[in-house]
Amino acid sequence: MTLDLLLQEGCQLPANVPARQVPVDAAQWIANAQRLHDQGGCLLALWGADDRDRDGVFRVFAAFLLPDQLVVLEHTLAGANPVYPALDPWFPVANRLQRALYDLLGLKADGGDARPWLRHGGWPEYLFPLRREVGATQSYANHPRPYPFVPVQGDGVHEIAVGPVHAGTIEPGHFRFSVVGEKVLRLEARLGYTHKGIAKRFEKLSLQEGHRLAARICGDSTVAFSWAYCAALEAVTEIELPRRAASLRALALERERLANHLGDLGALGNDAGLAFGLMQFASLKERLVRLNQEVFQQRYLFDYVVPGGVAVDPGVRAVRALLDEAAMLELAVPALRAIYENHAGVQDRFRDAGVLSPELARAHGALGLVGRASGVAQDLRVDLPWPPYDRLRPNRALASAGDVAARVQLRFDEVMESLRLCRSLLETLPPGSSQLALPAAESGRLGIGLIEGWRGPVMIALETAADNRVRRCHAHDPSWQNWPLVEYAIIGNIVPDFPLINKSFNLAYSGADG
C-alpha cells in the first residue's frame, strides 16, 4: 500500500484540522510507519484504549503529523496478548511513549527500552491503571525502585544527580549528568514525578465538564489544551463554532503565547545574569495578565474556552483596552530586544550555547518553537489553519542556528507576530453570539482537537460514551518530543550552562507527565 493509497484508505476523522483514521494490522502498522517516516511525517502521539468491555480487544493508536493532514493508525490487539510492533526504530520519540503506554495500559511494544517511565512505584507492576477493571480511587503503597540510568565510563567521568527537588520553586524532574570536570558527556532525564492520572480521571467526567480538567493538564498552556478538548468535542457533535467565538479563542491563545514568551524572555535574561531583563519583562507580563483578569475574569485564562464558545464576551471598552495594551507592547518589546541584542555579555552566553542542529531536530521530530528555532518549518497555524487562522494568515517565524540565541530570537519574532494577530483579531471582531449550546454527542465516536499552543502542537483525542460521557480522553503535549532533545543540546556544553539551555526550551513537566 503506498502512501497515497493509505491516505485514501480509512475514514475521515472528526477534527478541527484535516485528519484521517486508518485501521491496520500488525504488518501494515510497521509498513505504514516506515512509509510515513520516509514521507517526512512525524509521530505526534501514541495512546491506547481498553475496549474489552465492548468487543474484547485493546486498541493502540498512533497519530502522525504530515504537512497537510493528521493520520491516525488504529491497530487492534487481542485481549490475551496485547503486543504491538515498536515504532522507535523510525521515530525515536516512540521510546518514551511506548514505555508510558505500557505503564498505564499494559500494551507492550515488541522491542526497545523496557524501563518504566510514568510508574515510579506508586502502583504495583502487575496493575495497569487505565484498564477498565482498575478502580480510580484505589490507593497503593509506594515502593520506589532504583532506576537504571545508562552508565558512562572513562577516566575522570563522574555523575551529578540533580533533582527532583530543586533549589528554586520549579517542577520536579531528575537530571543525571555524566561529566568530566565541567563538560557534559551525557544527560539522561527522568520525568513522570507529576503524573496525576488525568486520563483515568477523564473517564468519570461528562463531555460537558471535561474541558475544565483539560484546562488543568498544563497550567501555562491552559487555553491550548481546553481549546483542543473543545475542538474535539465540537468536531464529534458536528456543530460549527460562531465566528466571534473562534476569534475570541484565538485572541486568548495568542495572549497565552504572549504571556509565556514575555515570561521566558525575562527568565532567559536572568539566567544569563541580567536581572534587569527579568524585572522589565516580568512587569510587562504582569500588566498583561492583569488585563486578562479585567477583561476575561481570569489571569491565566483558565476555563475561558468552553464547549460551544467562550465564557466571557469582552465589550467595546475592553477591546479598546486590549488595543492600547498591544500598542504599549509594540513599543516596549523592541526596546528591550535592542538591549538584549546589543549586550555583549548576554549575547556571549546565548550564542552557540545548547545547539540543536536542524538535522537532529528533523530526525527526532522536534515540534513547535524548539523545532522552528532549528529550521523545522512547522506551525499548525500556518500549515493546517483552523478557523479563525484560515483568514488571519499568520506569518511563520523561523531560525536555523538552533542555539539559545535562536530560541530567544524566535520568541521575540513570535511576540511581535502575536501582537499583530491580536490587533487584527480585535479590529475585525465578527458580530454575533460567542456561545452556542452543544447537542448531545453520539456514543462511541473518536474526535481529535489539534491546536498550536505556545510550545507547539497540543492534541486531545476524545472518545465519547453513552449518556454524553467521556469514554477515553488522551492528551498530548509537545514536550514529549522535545525533552529528549534537551539531552542532545547539552552534550559538549558545560554544567553551569544547563539551566540557561533548559530554560530556552522551557518544556512542561506536568503537561507531559499527565
Partner: protein, 317 residues
C-alpha cells in the same frame, strides 16, 4: 601602644561587624532601584540574621565536626581580617604584627575551611561549588598579591597602616598611574572574590550555576547566618582594603583624637555609600560570564596589576 589603641582595635572590629550587613543592604537596595523595582529596607540583612539565629539548625546525617566548625572559623577569619585593615585609624596594634601578605593568608584560610566543609557532606553541589571556588581562588590570589605589591613598592612597606600613612603624608595630592592600573585590577579581584557578577551571581536559585551559594546550600539557621555574615564582612573588608590602598583620605593617622576619629567614620560611610552604588551599577549592567571565561577575567586582573608594577618600576611613577 596605649590602651586607647587597643580600645580602637576592638572598636574597629565591632564597627566592621556591625556595618557589614548595612553595606550589603545598601548594595541590595541600589540593585533593586537600578532594576526598576521597589527595594527591600536597608536593614533587611539584619532581619535575615535575626530570622536565621532564631531557627533550629538542621544538619546532614553524615556531617562531621568540620562541617559544624567551618561557619565559626570562616566568621573568625573575617573578623581577624577586619582587625588588620585600617578602615578608620592606622593606630592598630594587630596591623603592626600582621602585614597585608598575612591578610591574604587569612582570607585563604577561610576559603579552605568553607571548601572542605562543602565537600564534607558529600553532595554533588557542595563538591562542585568547592572546586569552582578553588579555581577562582587560586587565580584571584596572585592578582591580589600583585595589586598589594604595587602599593608596597610605592610606599615602601608591606603593612597596610604604613601604606595609608605614606599616602596621607604626601603634602600635595600625587597621582600615581601605577596605582590606577592596580585599582582596576583590584576591583576585578573584589568582584571575583566576593561572588559578585560577572563571575558568580549572588541572587541565583539555579544550583548548577552557583559557586559560593553551592557551597553553603546544606547550611541552615545559625550556621547559615554566620556564613552569610562572613560573606558580607568579606565584601566590607575588601572595600576597606580598596579605600586604604587607593582612597585613604579621612582615615585617622597616629595619635588622632575623638574628633578626627568621628570624621574618619564619616568619611568611611561616604566612601561605602559611593562604592556600594558603583558596585550595584556595575552588577546591573553586566551579565554573568560563562564559567570558563572567569579565568580570562582574572588573568586580565593579574595583567593589570603587573602593568601597574611595571609602570612603577620602569617609569618610577
Amino acid at each position: 601602644m596605649t590602651a586607647v589603641a587597643y580600645a580602637w582595635q576592638v572598636g574597629e572590629c565591632l564597627l566592621a561587624i556591625a556595618l557589614a550587613p548595612l553595606f550589603a543592604g545598601w548594595v541590595g537596595q541600589c540593585r533593586a532601584w537600578l532594576q526598576n523595582r521597589s527595594a527591600p529596607p536597608l536593614w533587611q540583612p539584619y532581619r535575615v540574621l535575626r530570622k536565621l539565629f532564631h531557627k533550629d539548625a538542621a544538619l546532614a546525617t553524615h556531617a562531621s565536626w568540620l562541617f559544624r566548625a567551618a561557619p565559626y572559623v570562616v566568621f573568625s577569619t573575617m573578623v581577624v581580617a577586619a582587625a588588620i585593615i585600617p578602615s578608620v585609624t592606622t593606630d592598630l596594634p594587630l596591623a603592626r604584627v600582621a602585614d597585608a601578605i598575612a591578610l591574604v593568608g587569612v582570607f585563604a584560610t577561610g576559603r579552605v575551611f568553607i571548601s572542605l566543609a562543602a565537600m564534607d557532606v558529600g553532595t554533588a553541589f557542595g563538591s562542585m561549588g568547592a572546586r569552582r571556588e578553588m579555581m577562582i581562588g587560586f587565580l584571584a590570589e596572585p592578582a591580589l598579591l600583585m595589586v598589594l605589591f604595587c602599593a608596597f613598592m610605592t610606599y615602601g612597606s608591606t603593612a597596610l597602616p604604613s601604606v595609608v600613612e605614606g599616602a596621607l603624608s604626601q603634602h600635595a595630592v600625587v597621582l600615581h598611574p601605577s596605582l590606577f592600573f592596580a585599582g582596576v585590577a583590584f576591583v576585578m579581584v573584589l568582584l571575583a572574590e566576593n561572588a559578585r557578577l560577572p563571575v558568580d551571581n549572588p541572587s541565583t536559585h539555579l544550583e548548577l550555576t552557583m559557586i559560593h551559594e553551592a557551597m553553603i546550600l546544606e547550611y541552615s539557621a545559625r550556621h547559615l547566618a554566620l556564613l552569610e555574615w562572613a560573606s558580607w564582612l568579606k565584601l566590607f573588608n575588601y572595600a576597606c582594603i580598596g579605600f586604604a590602598l587607593f582612597l585613604p583620605w579621612g582615615i585617622a593617622v597616629h595619635g588622632a583624637g575623638i574628633g578626627l576619629l568621628a570624621l574618619a567614620i564619616g568619611a568611611l560611610l561616604v566612601k561605602l555609600v559611593i562604592a556600594g552604588a558603583a558596585l550595584a551599577l556595575f552588577e546591573t549592567l553586566s551579565a554573568k560570564l560563562r564559567l570558563f571565561r572567569a579565568p580570562e577575567f582574572l588573568t586580565m586582573a593579574f595583567l593589570f596589576a603587573v602593568l601597574g608594577l611595571l609602570v612603577y618600576l620602569l617609569l618610577g611613577v
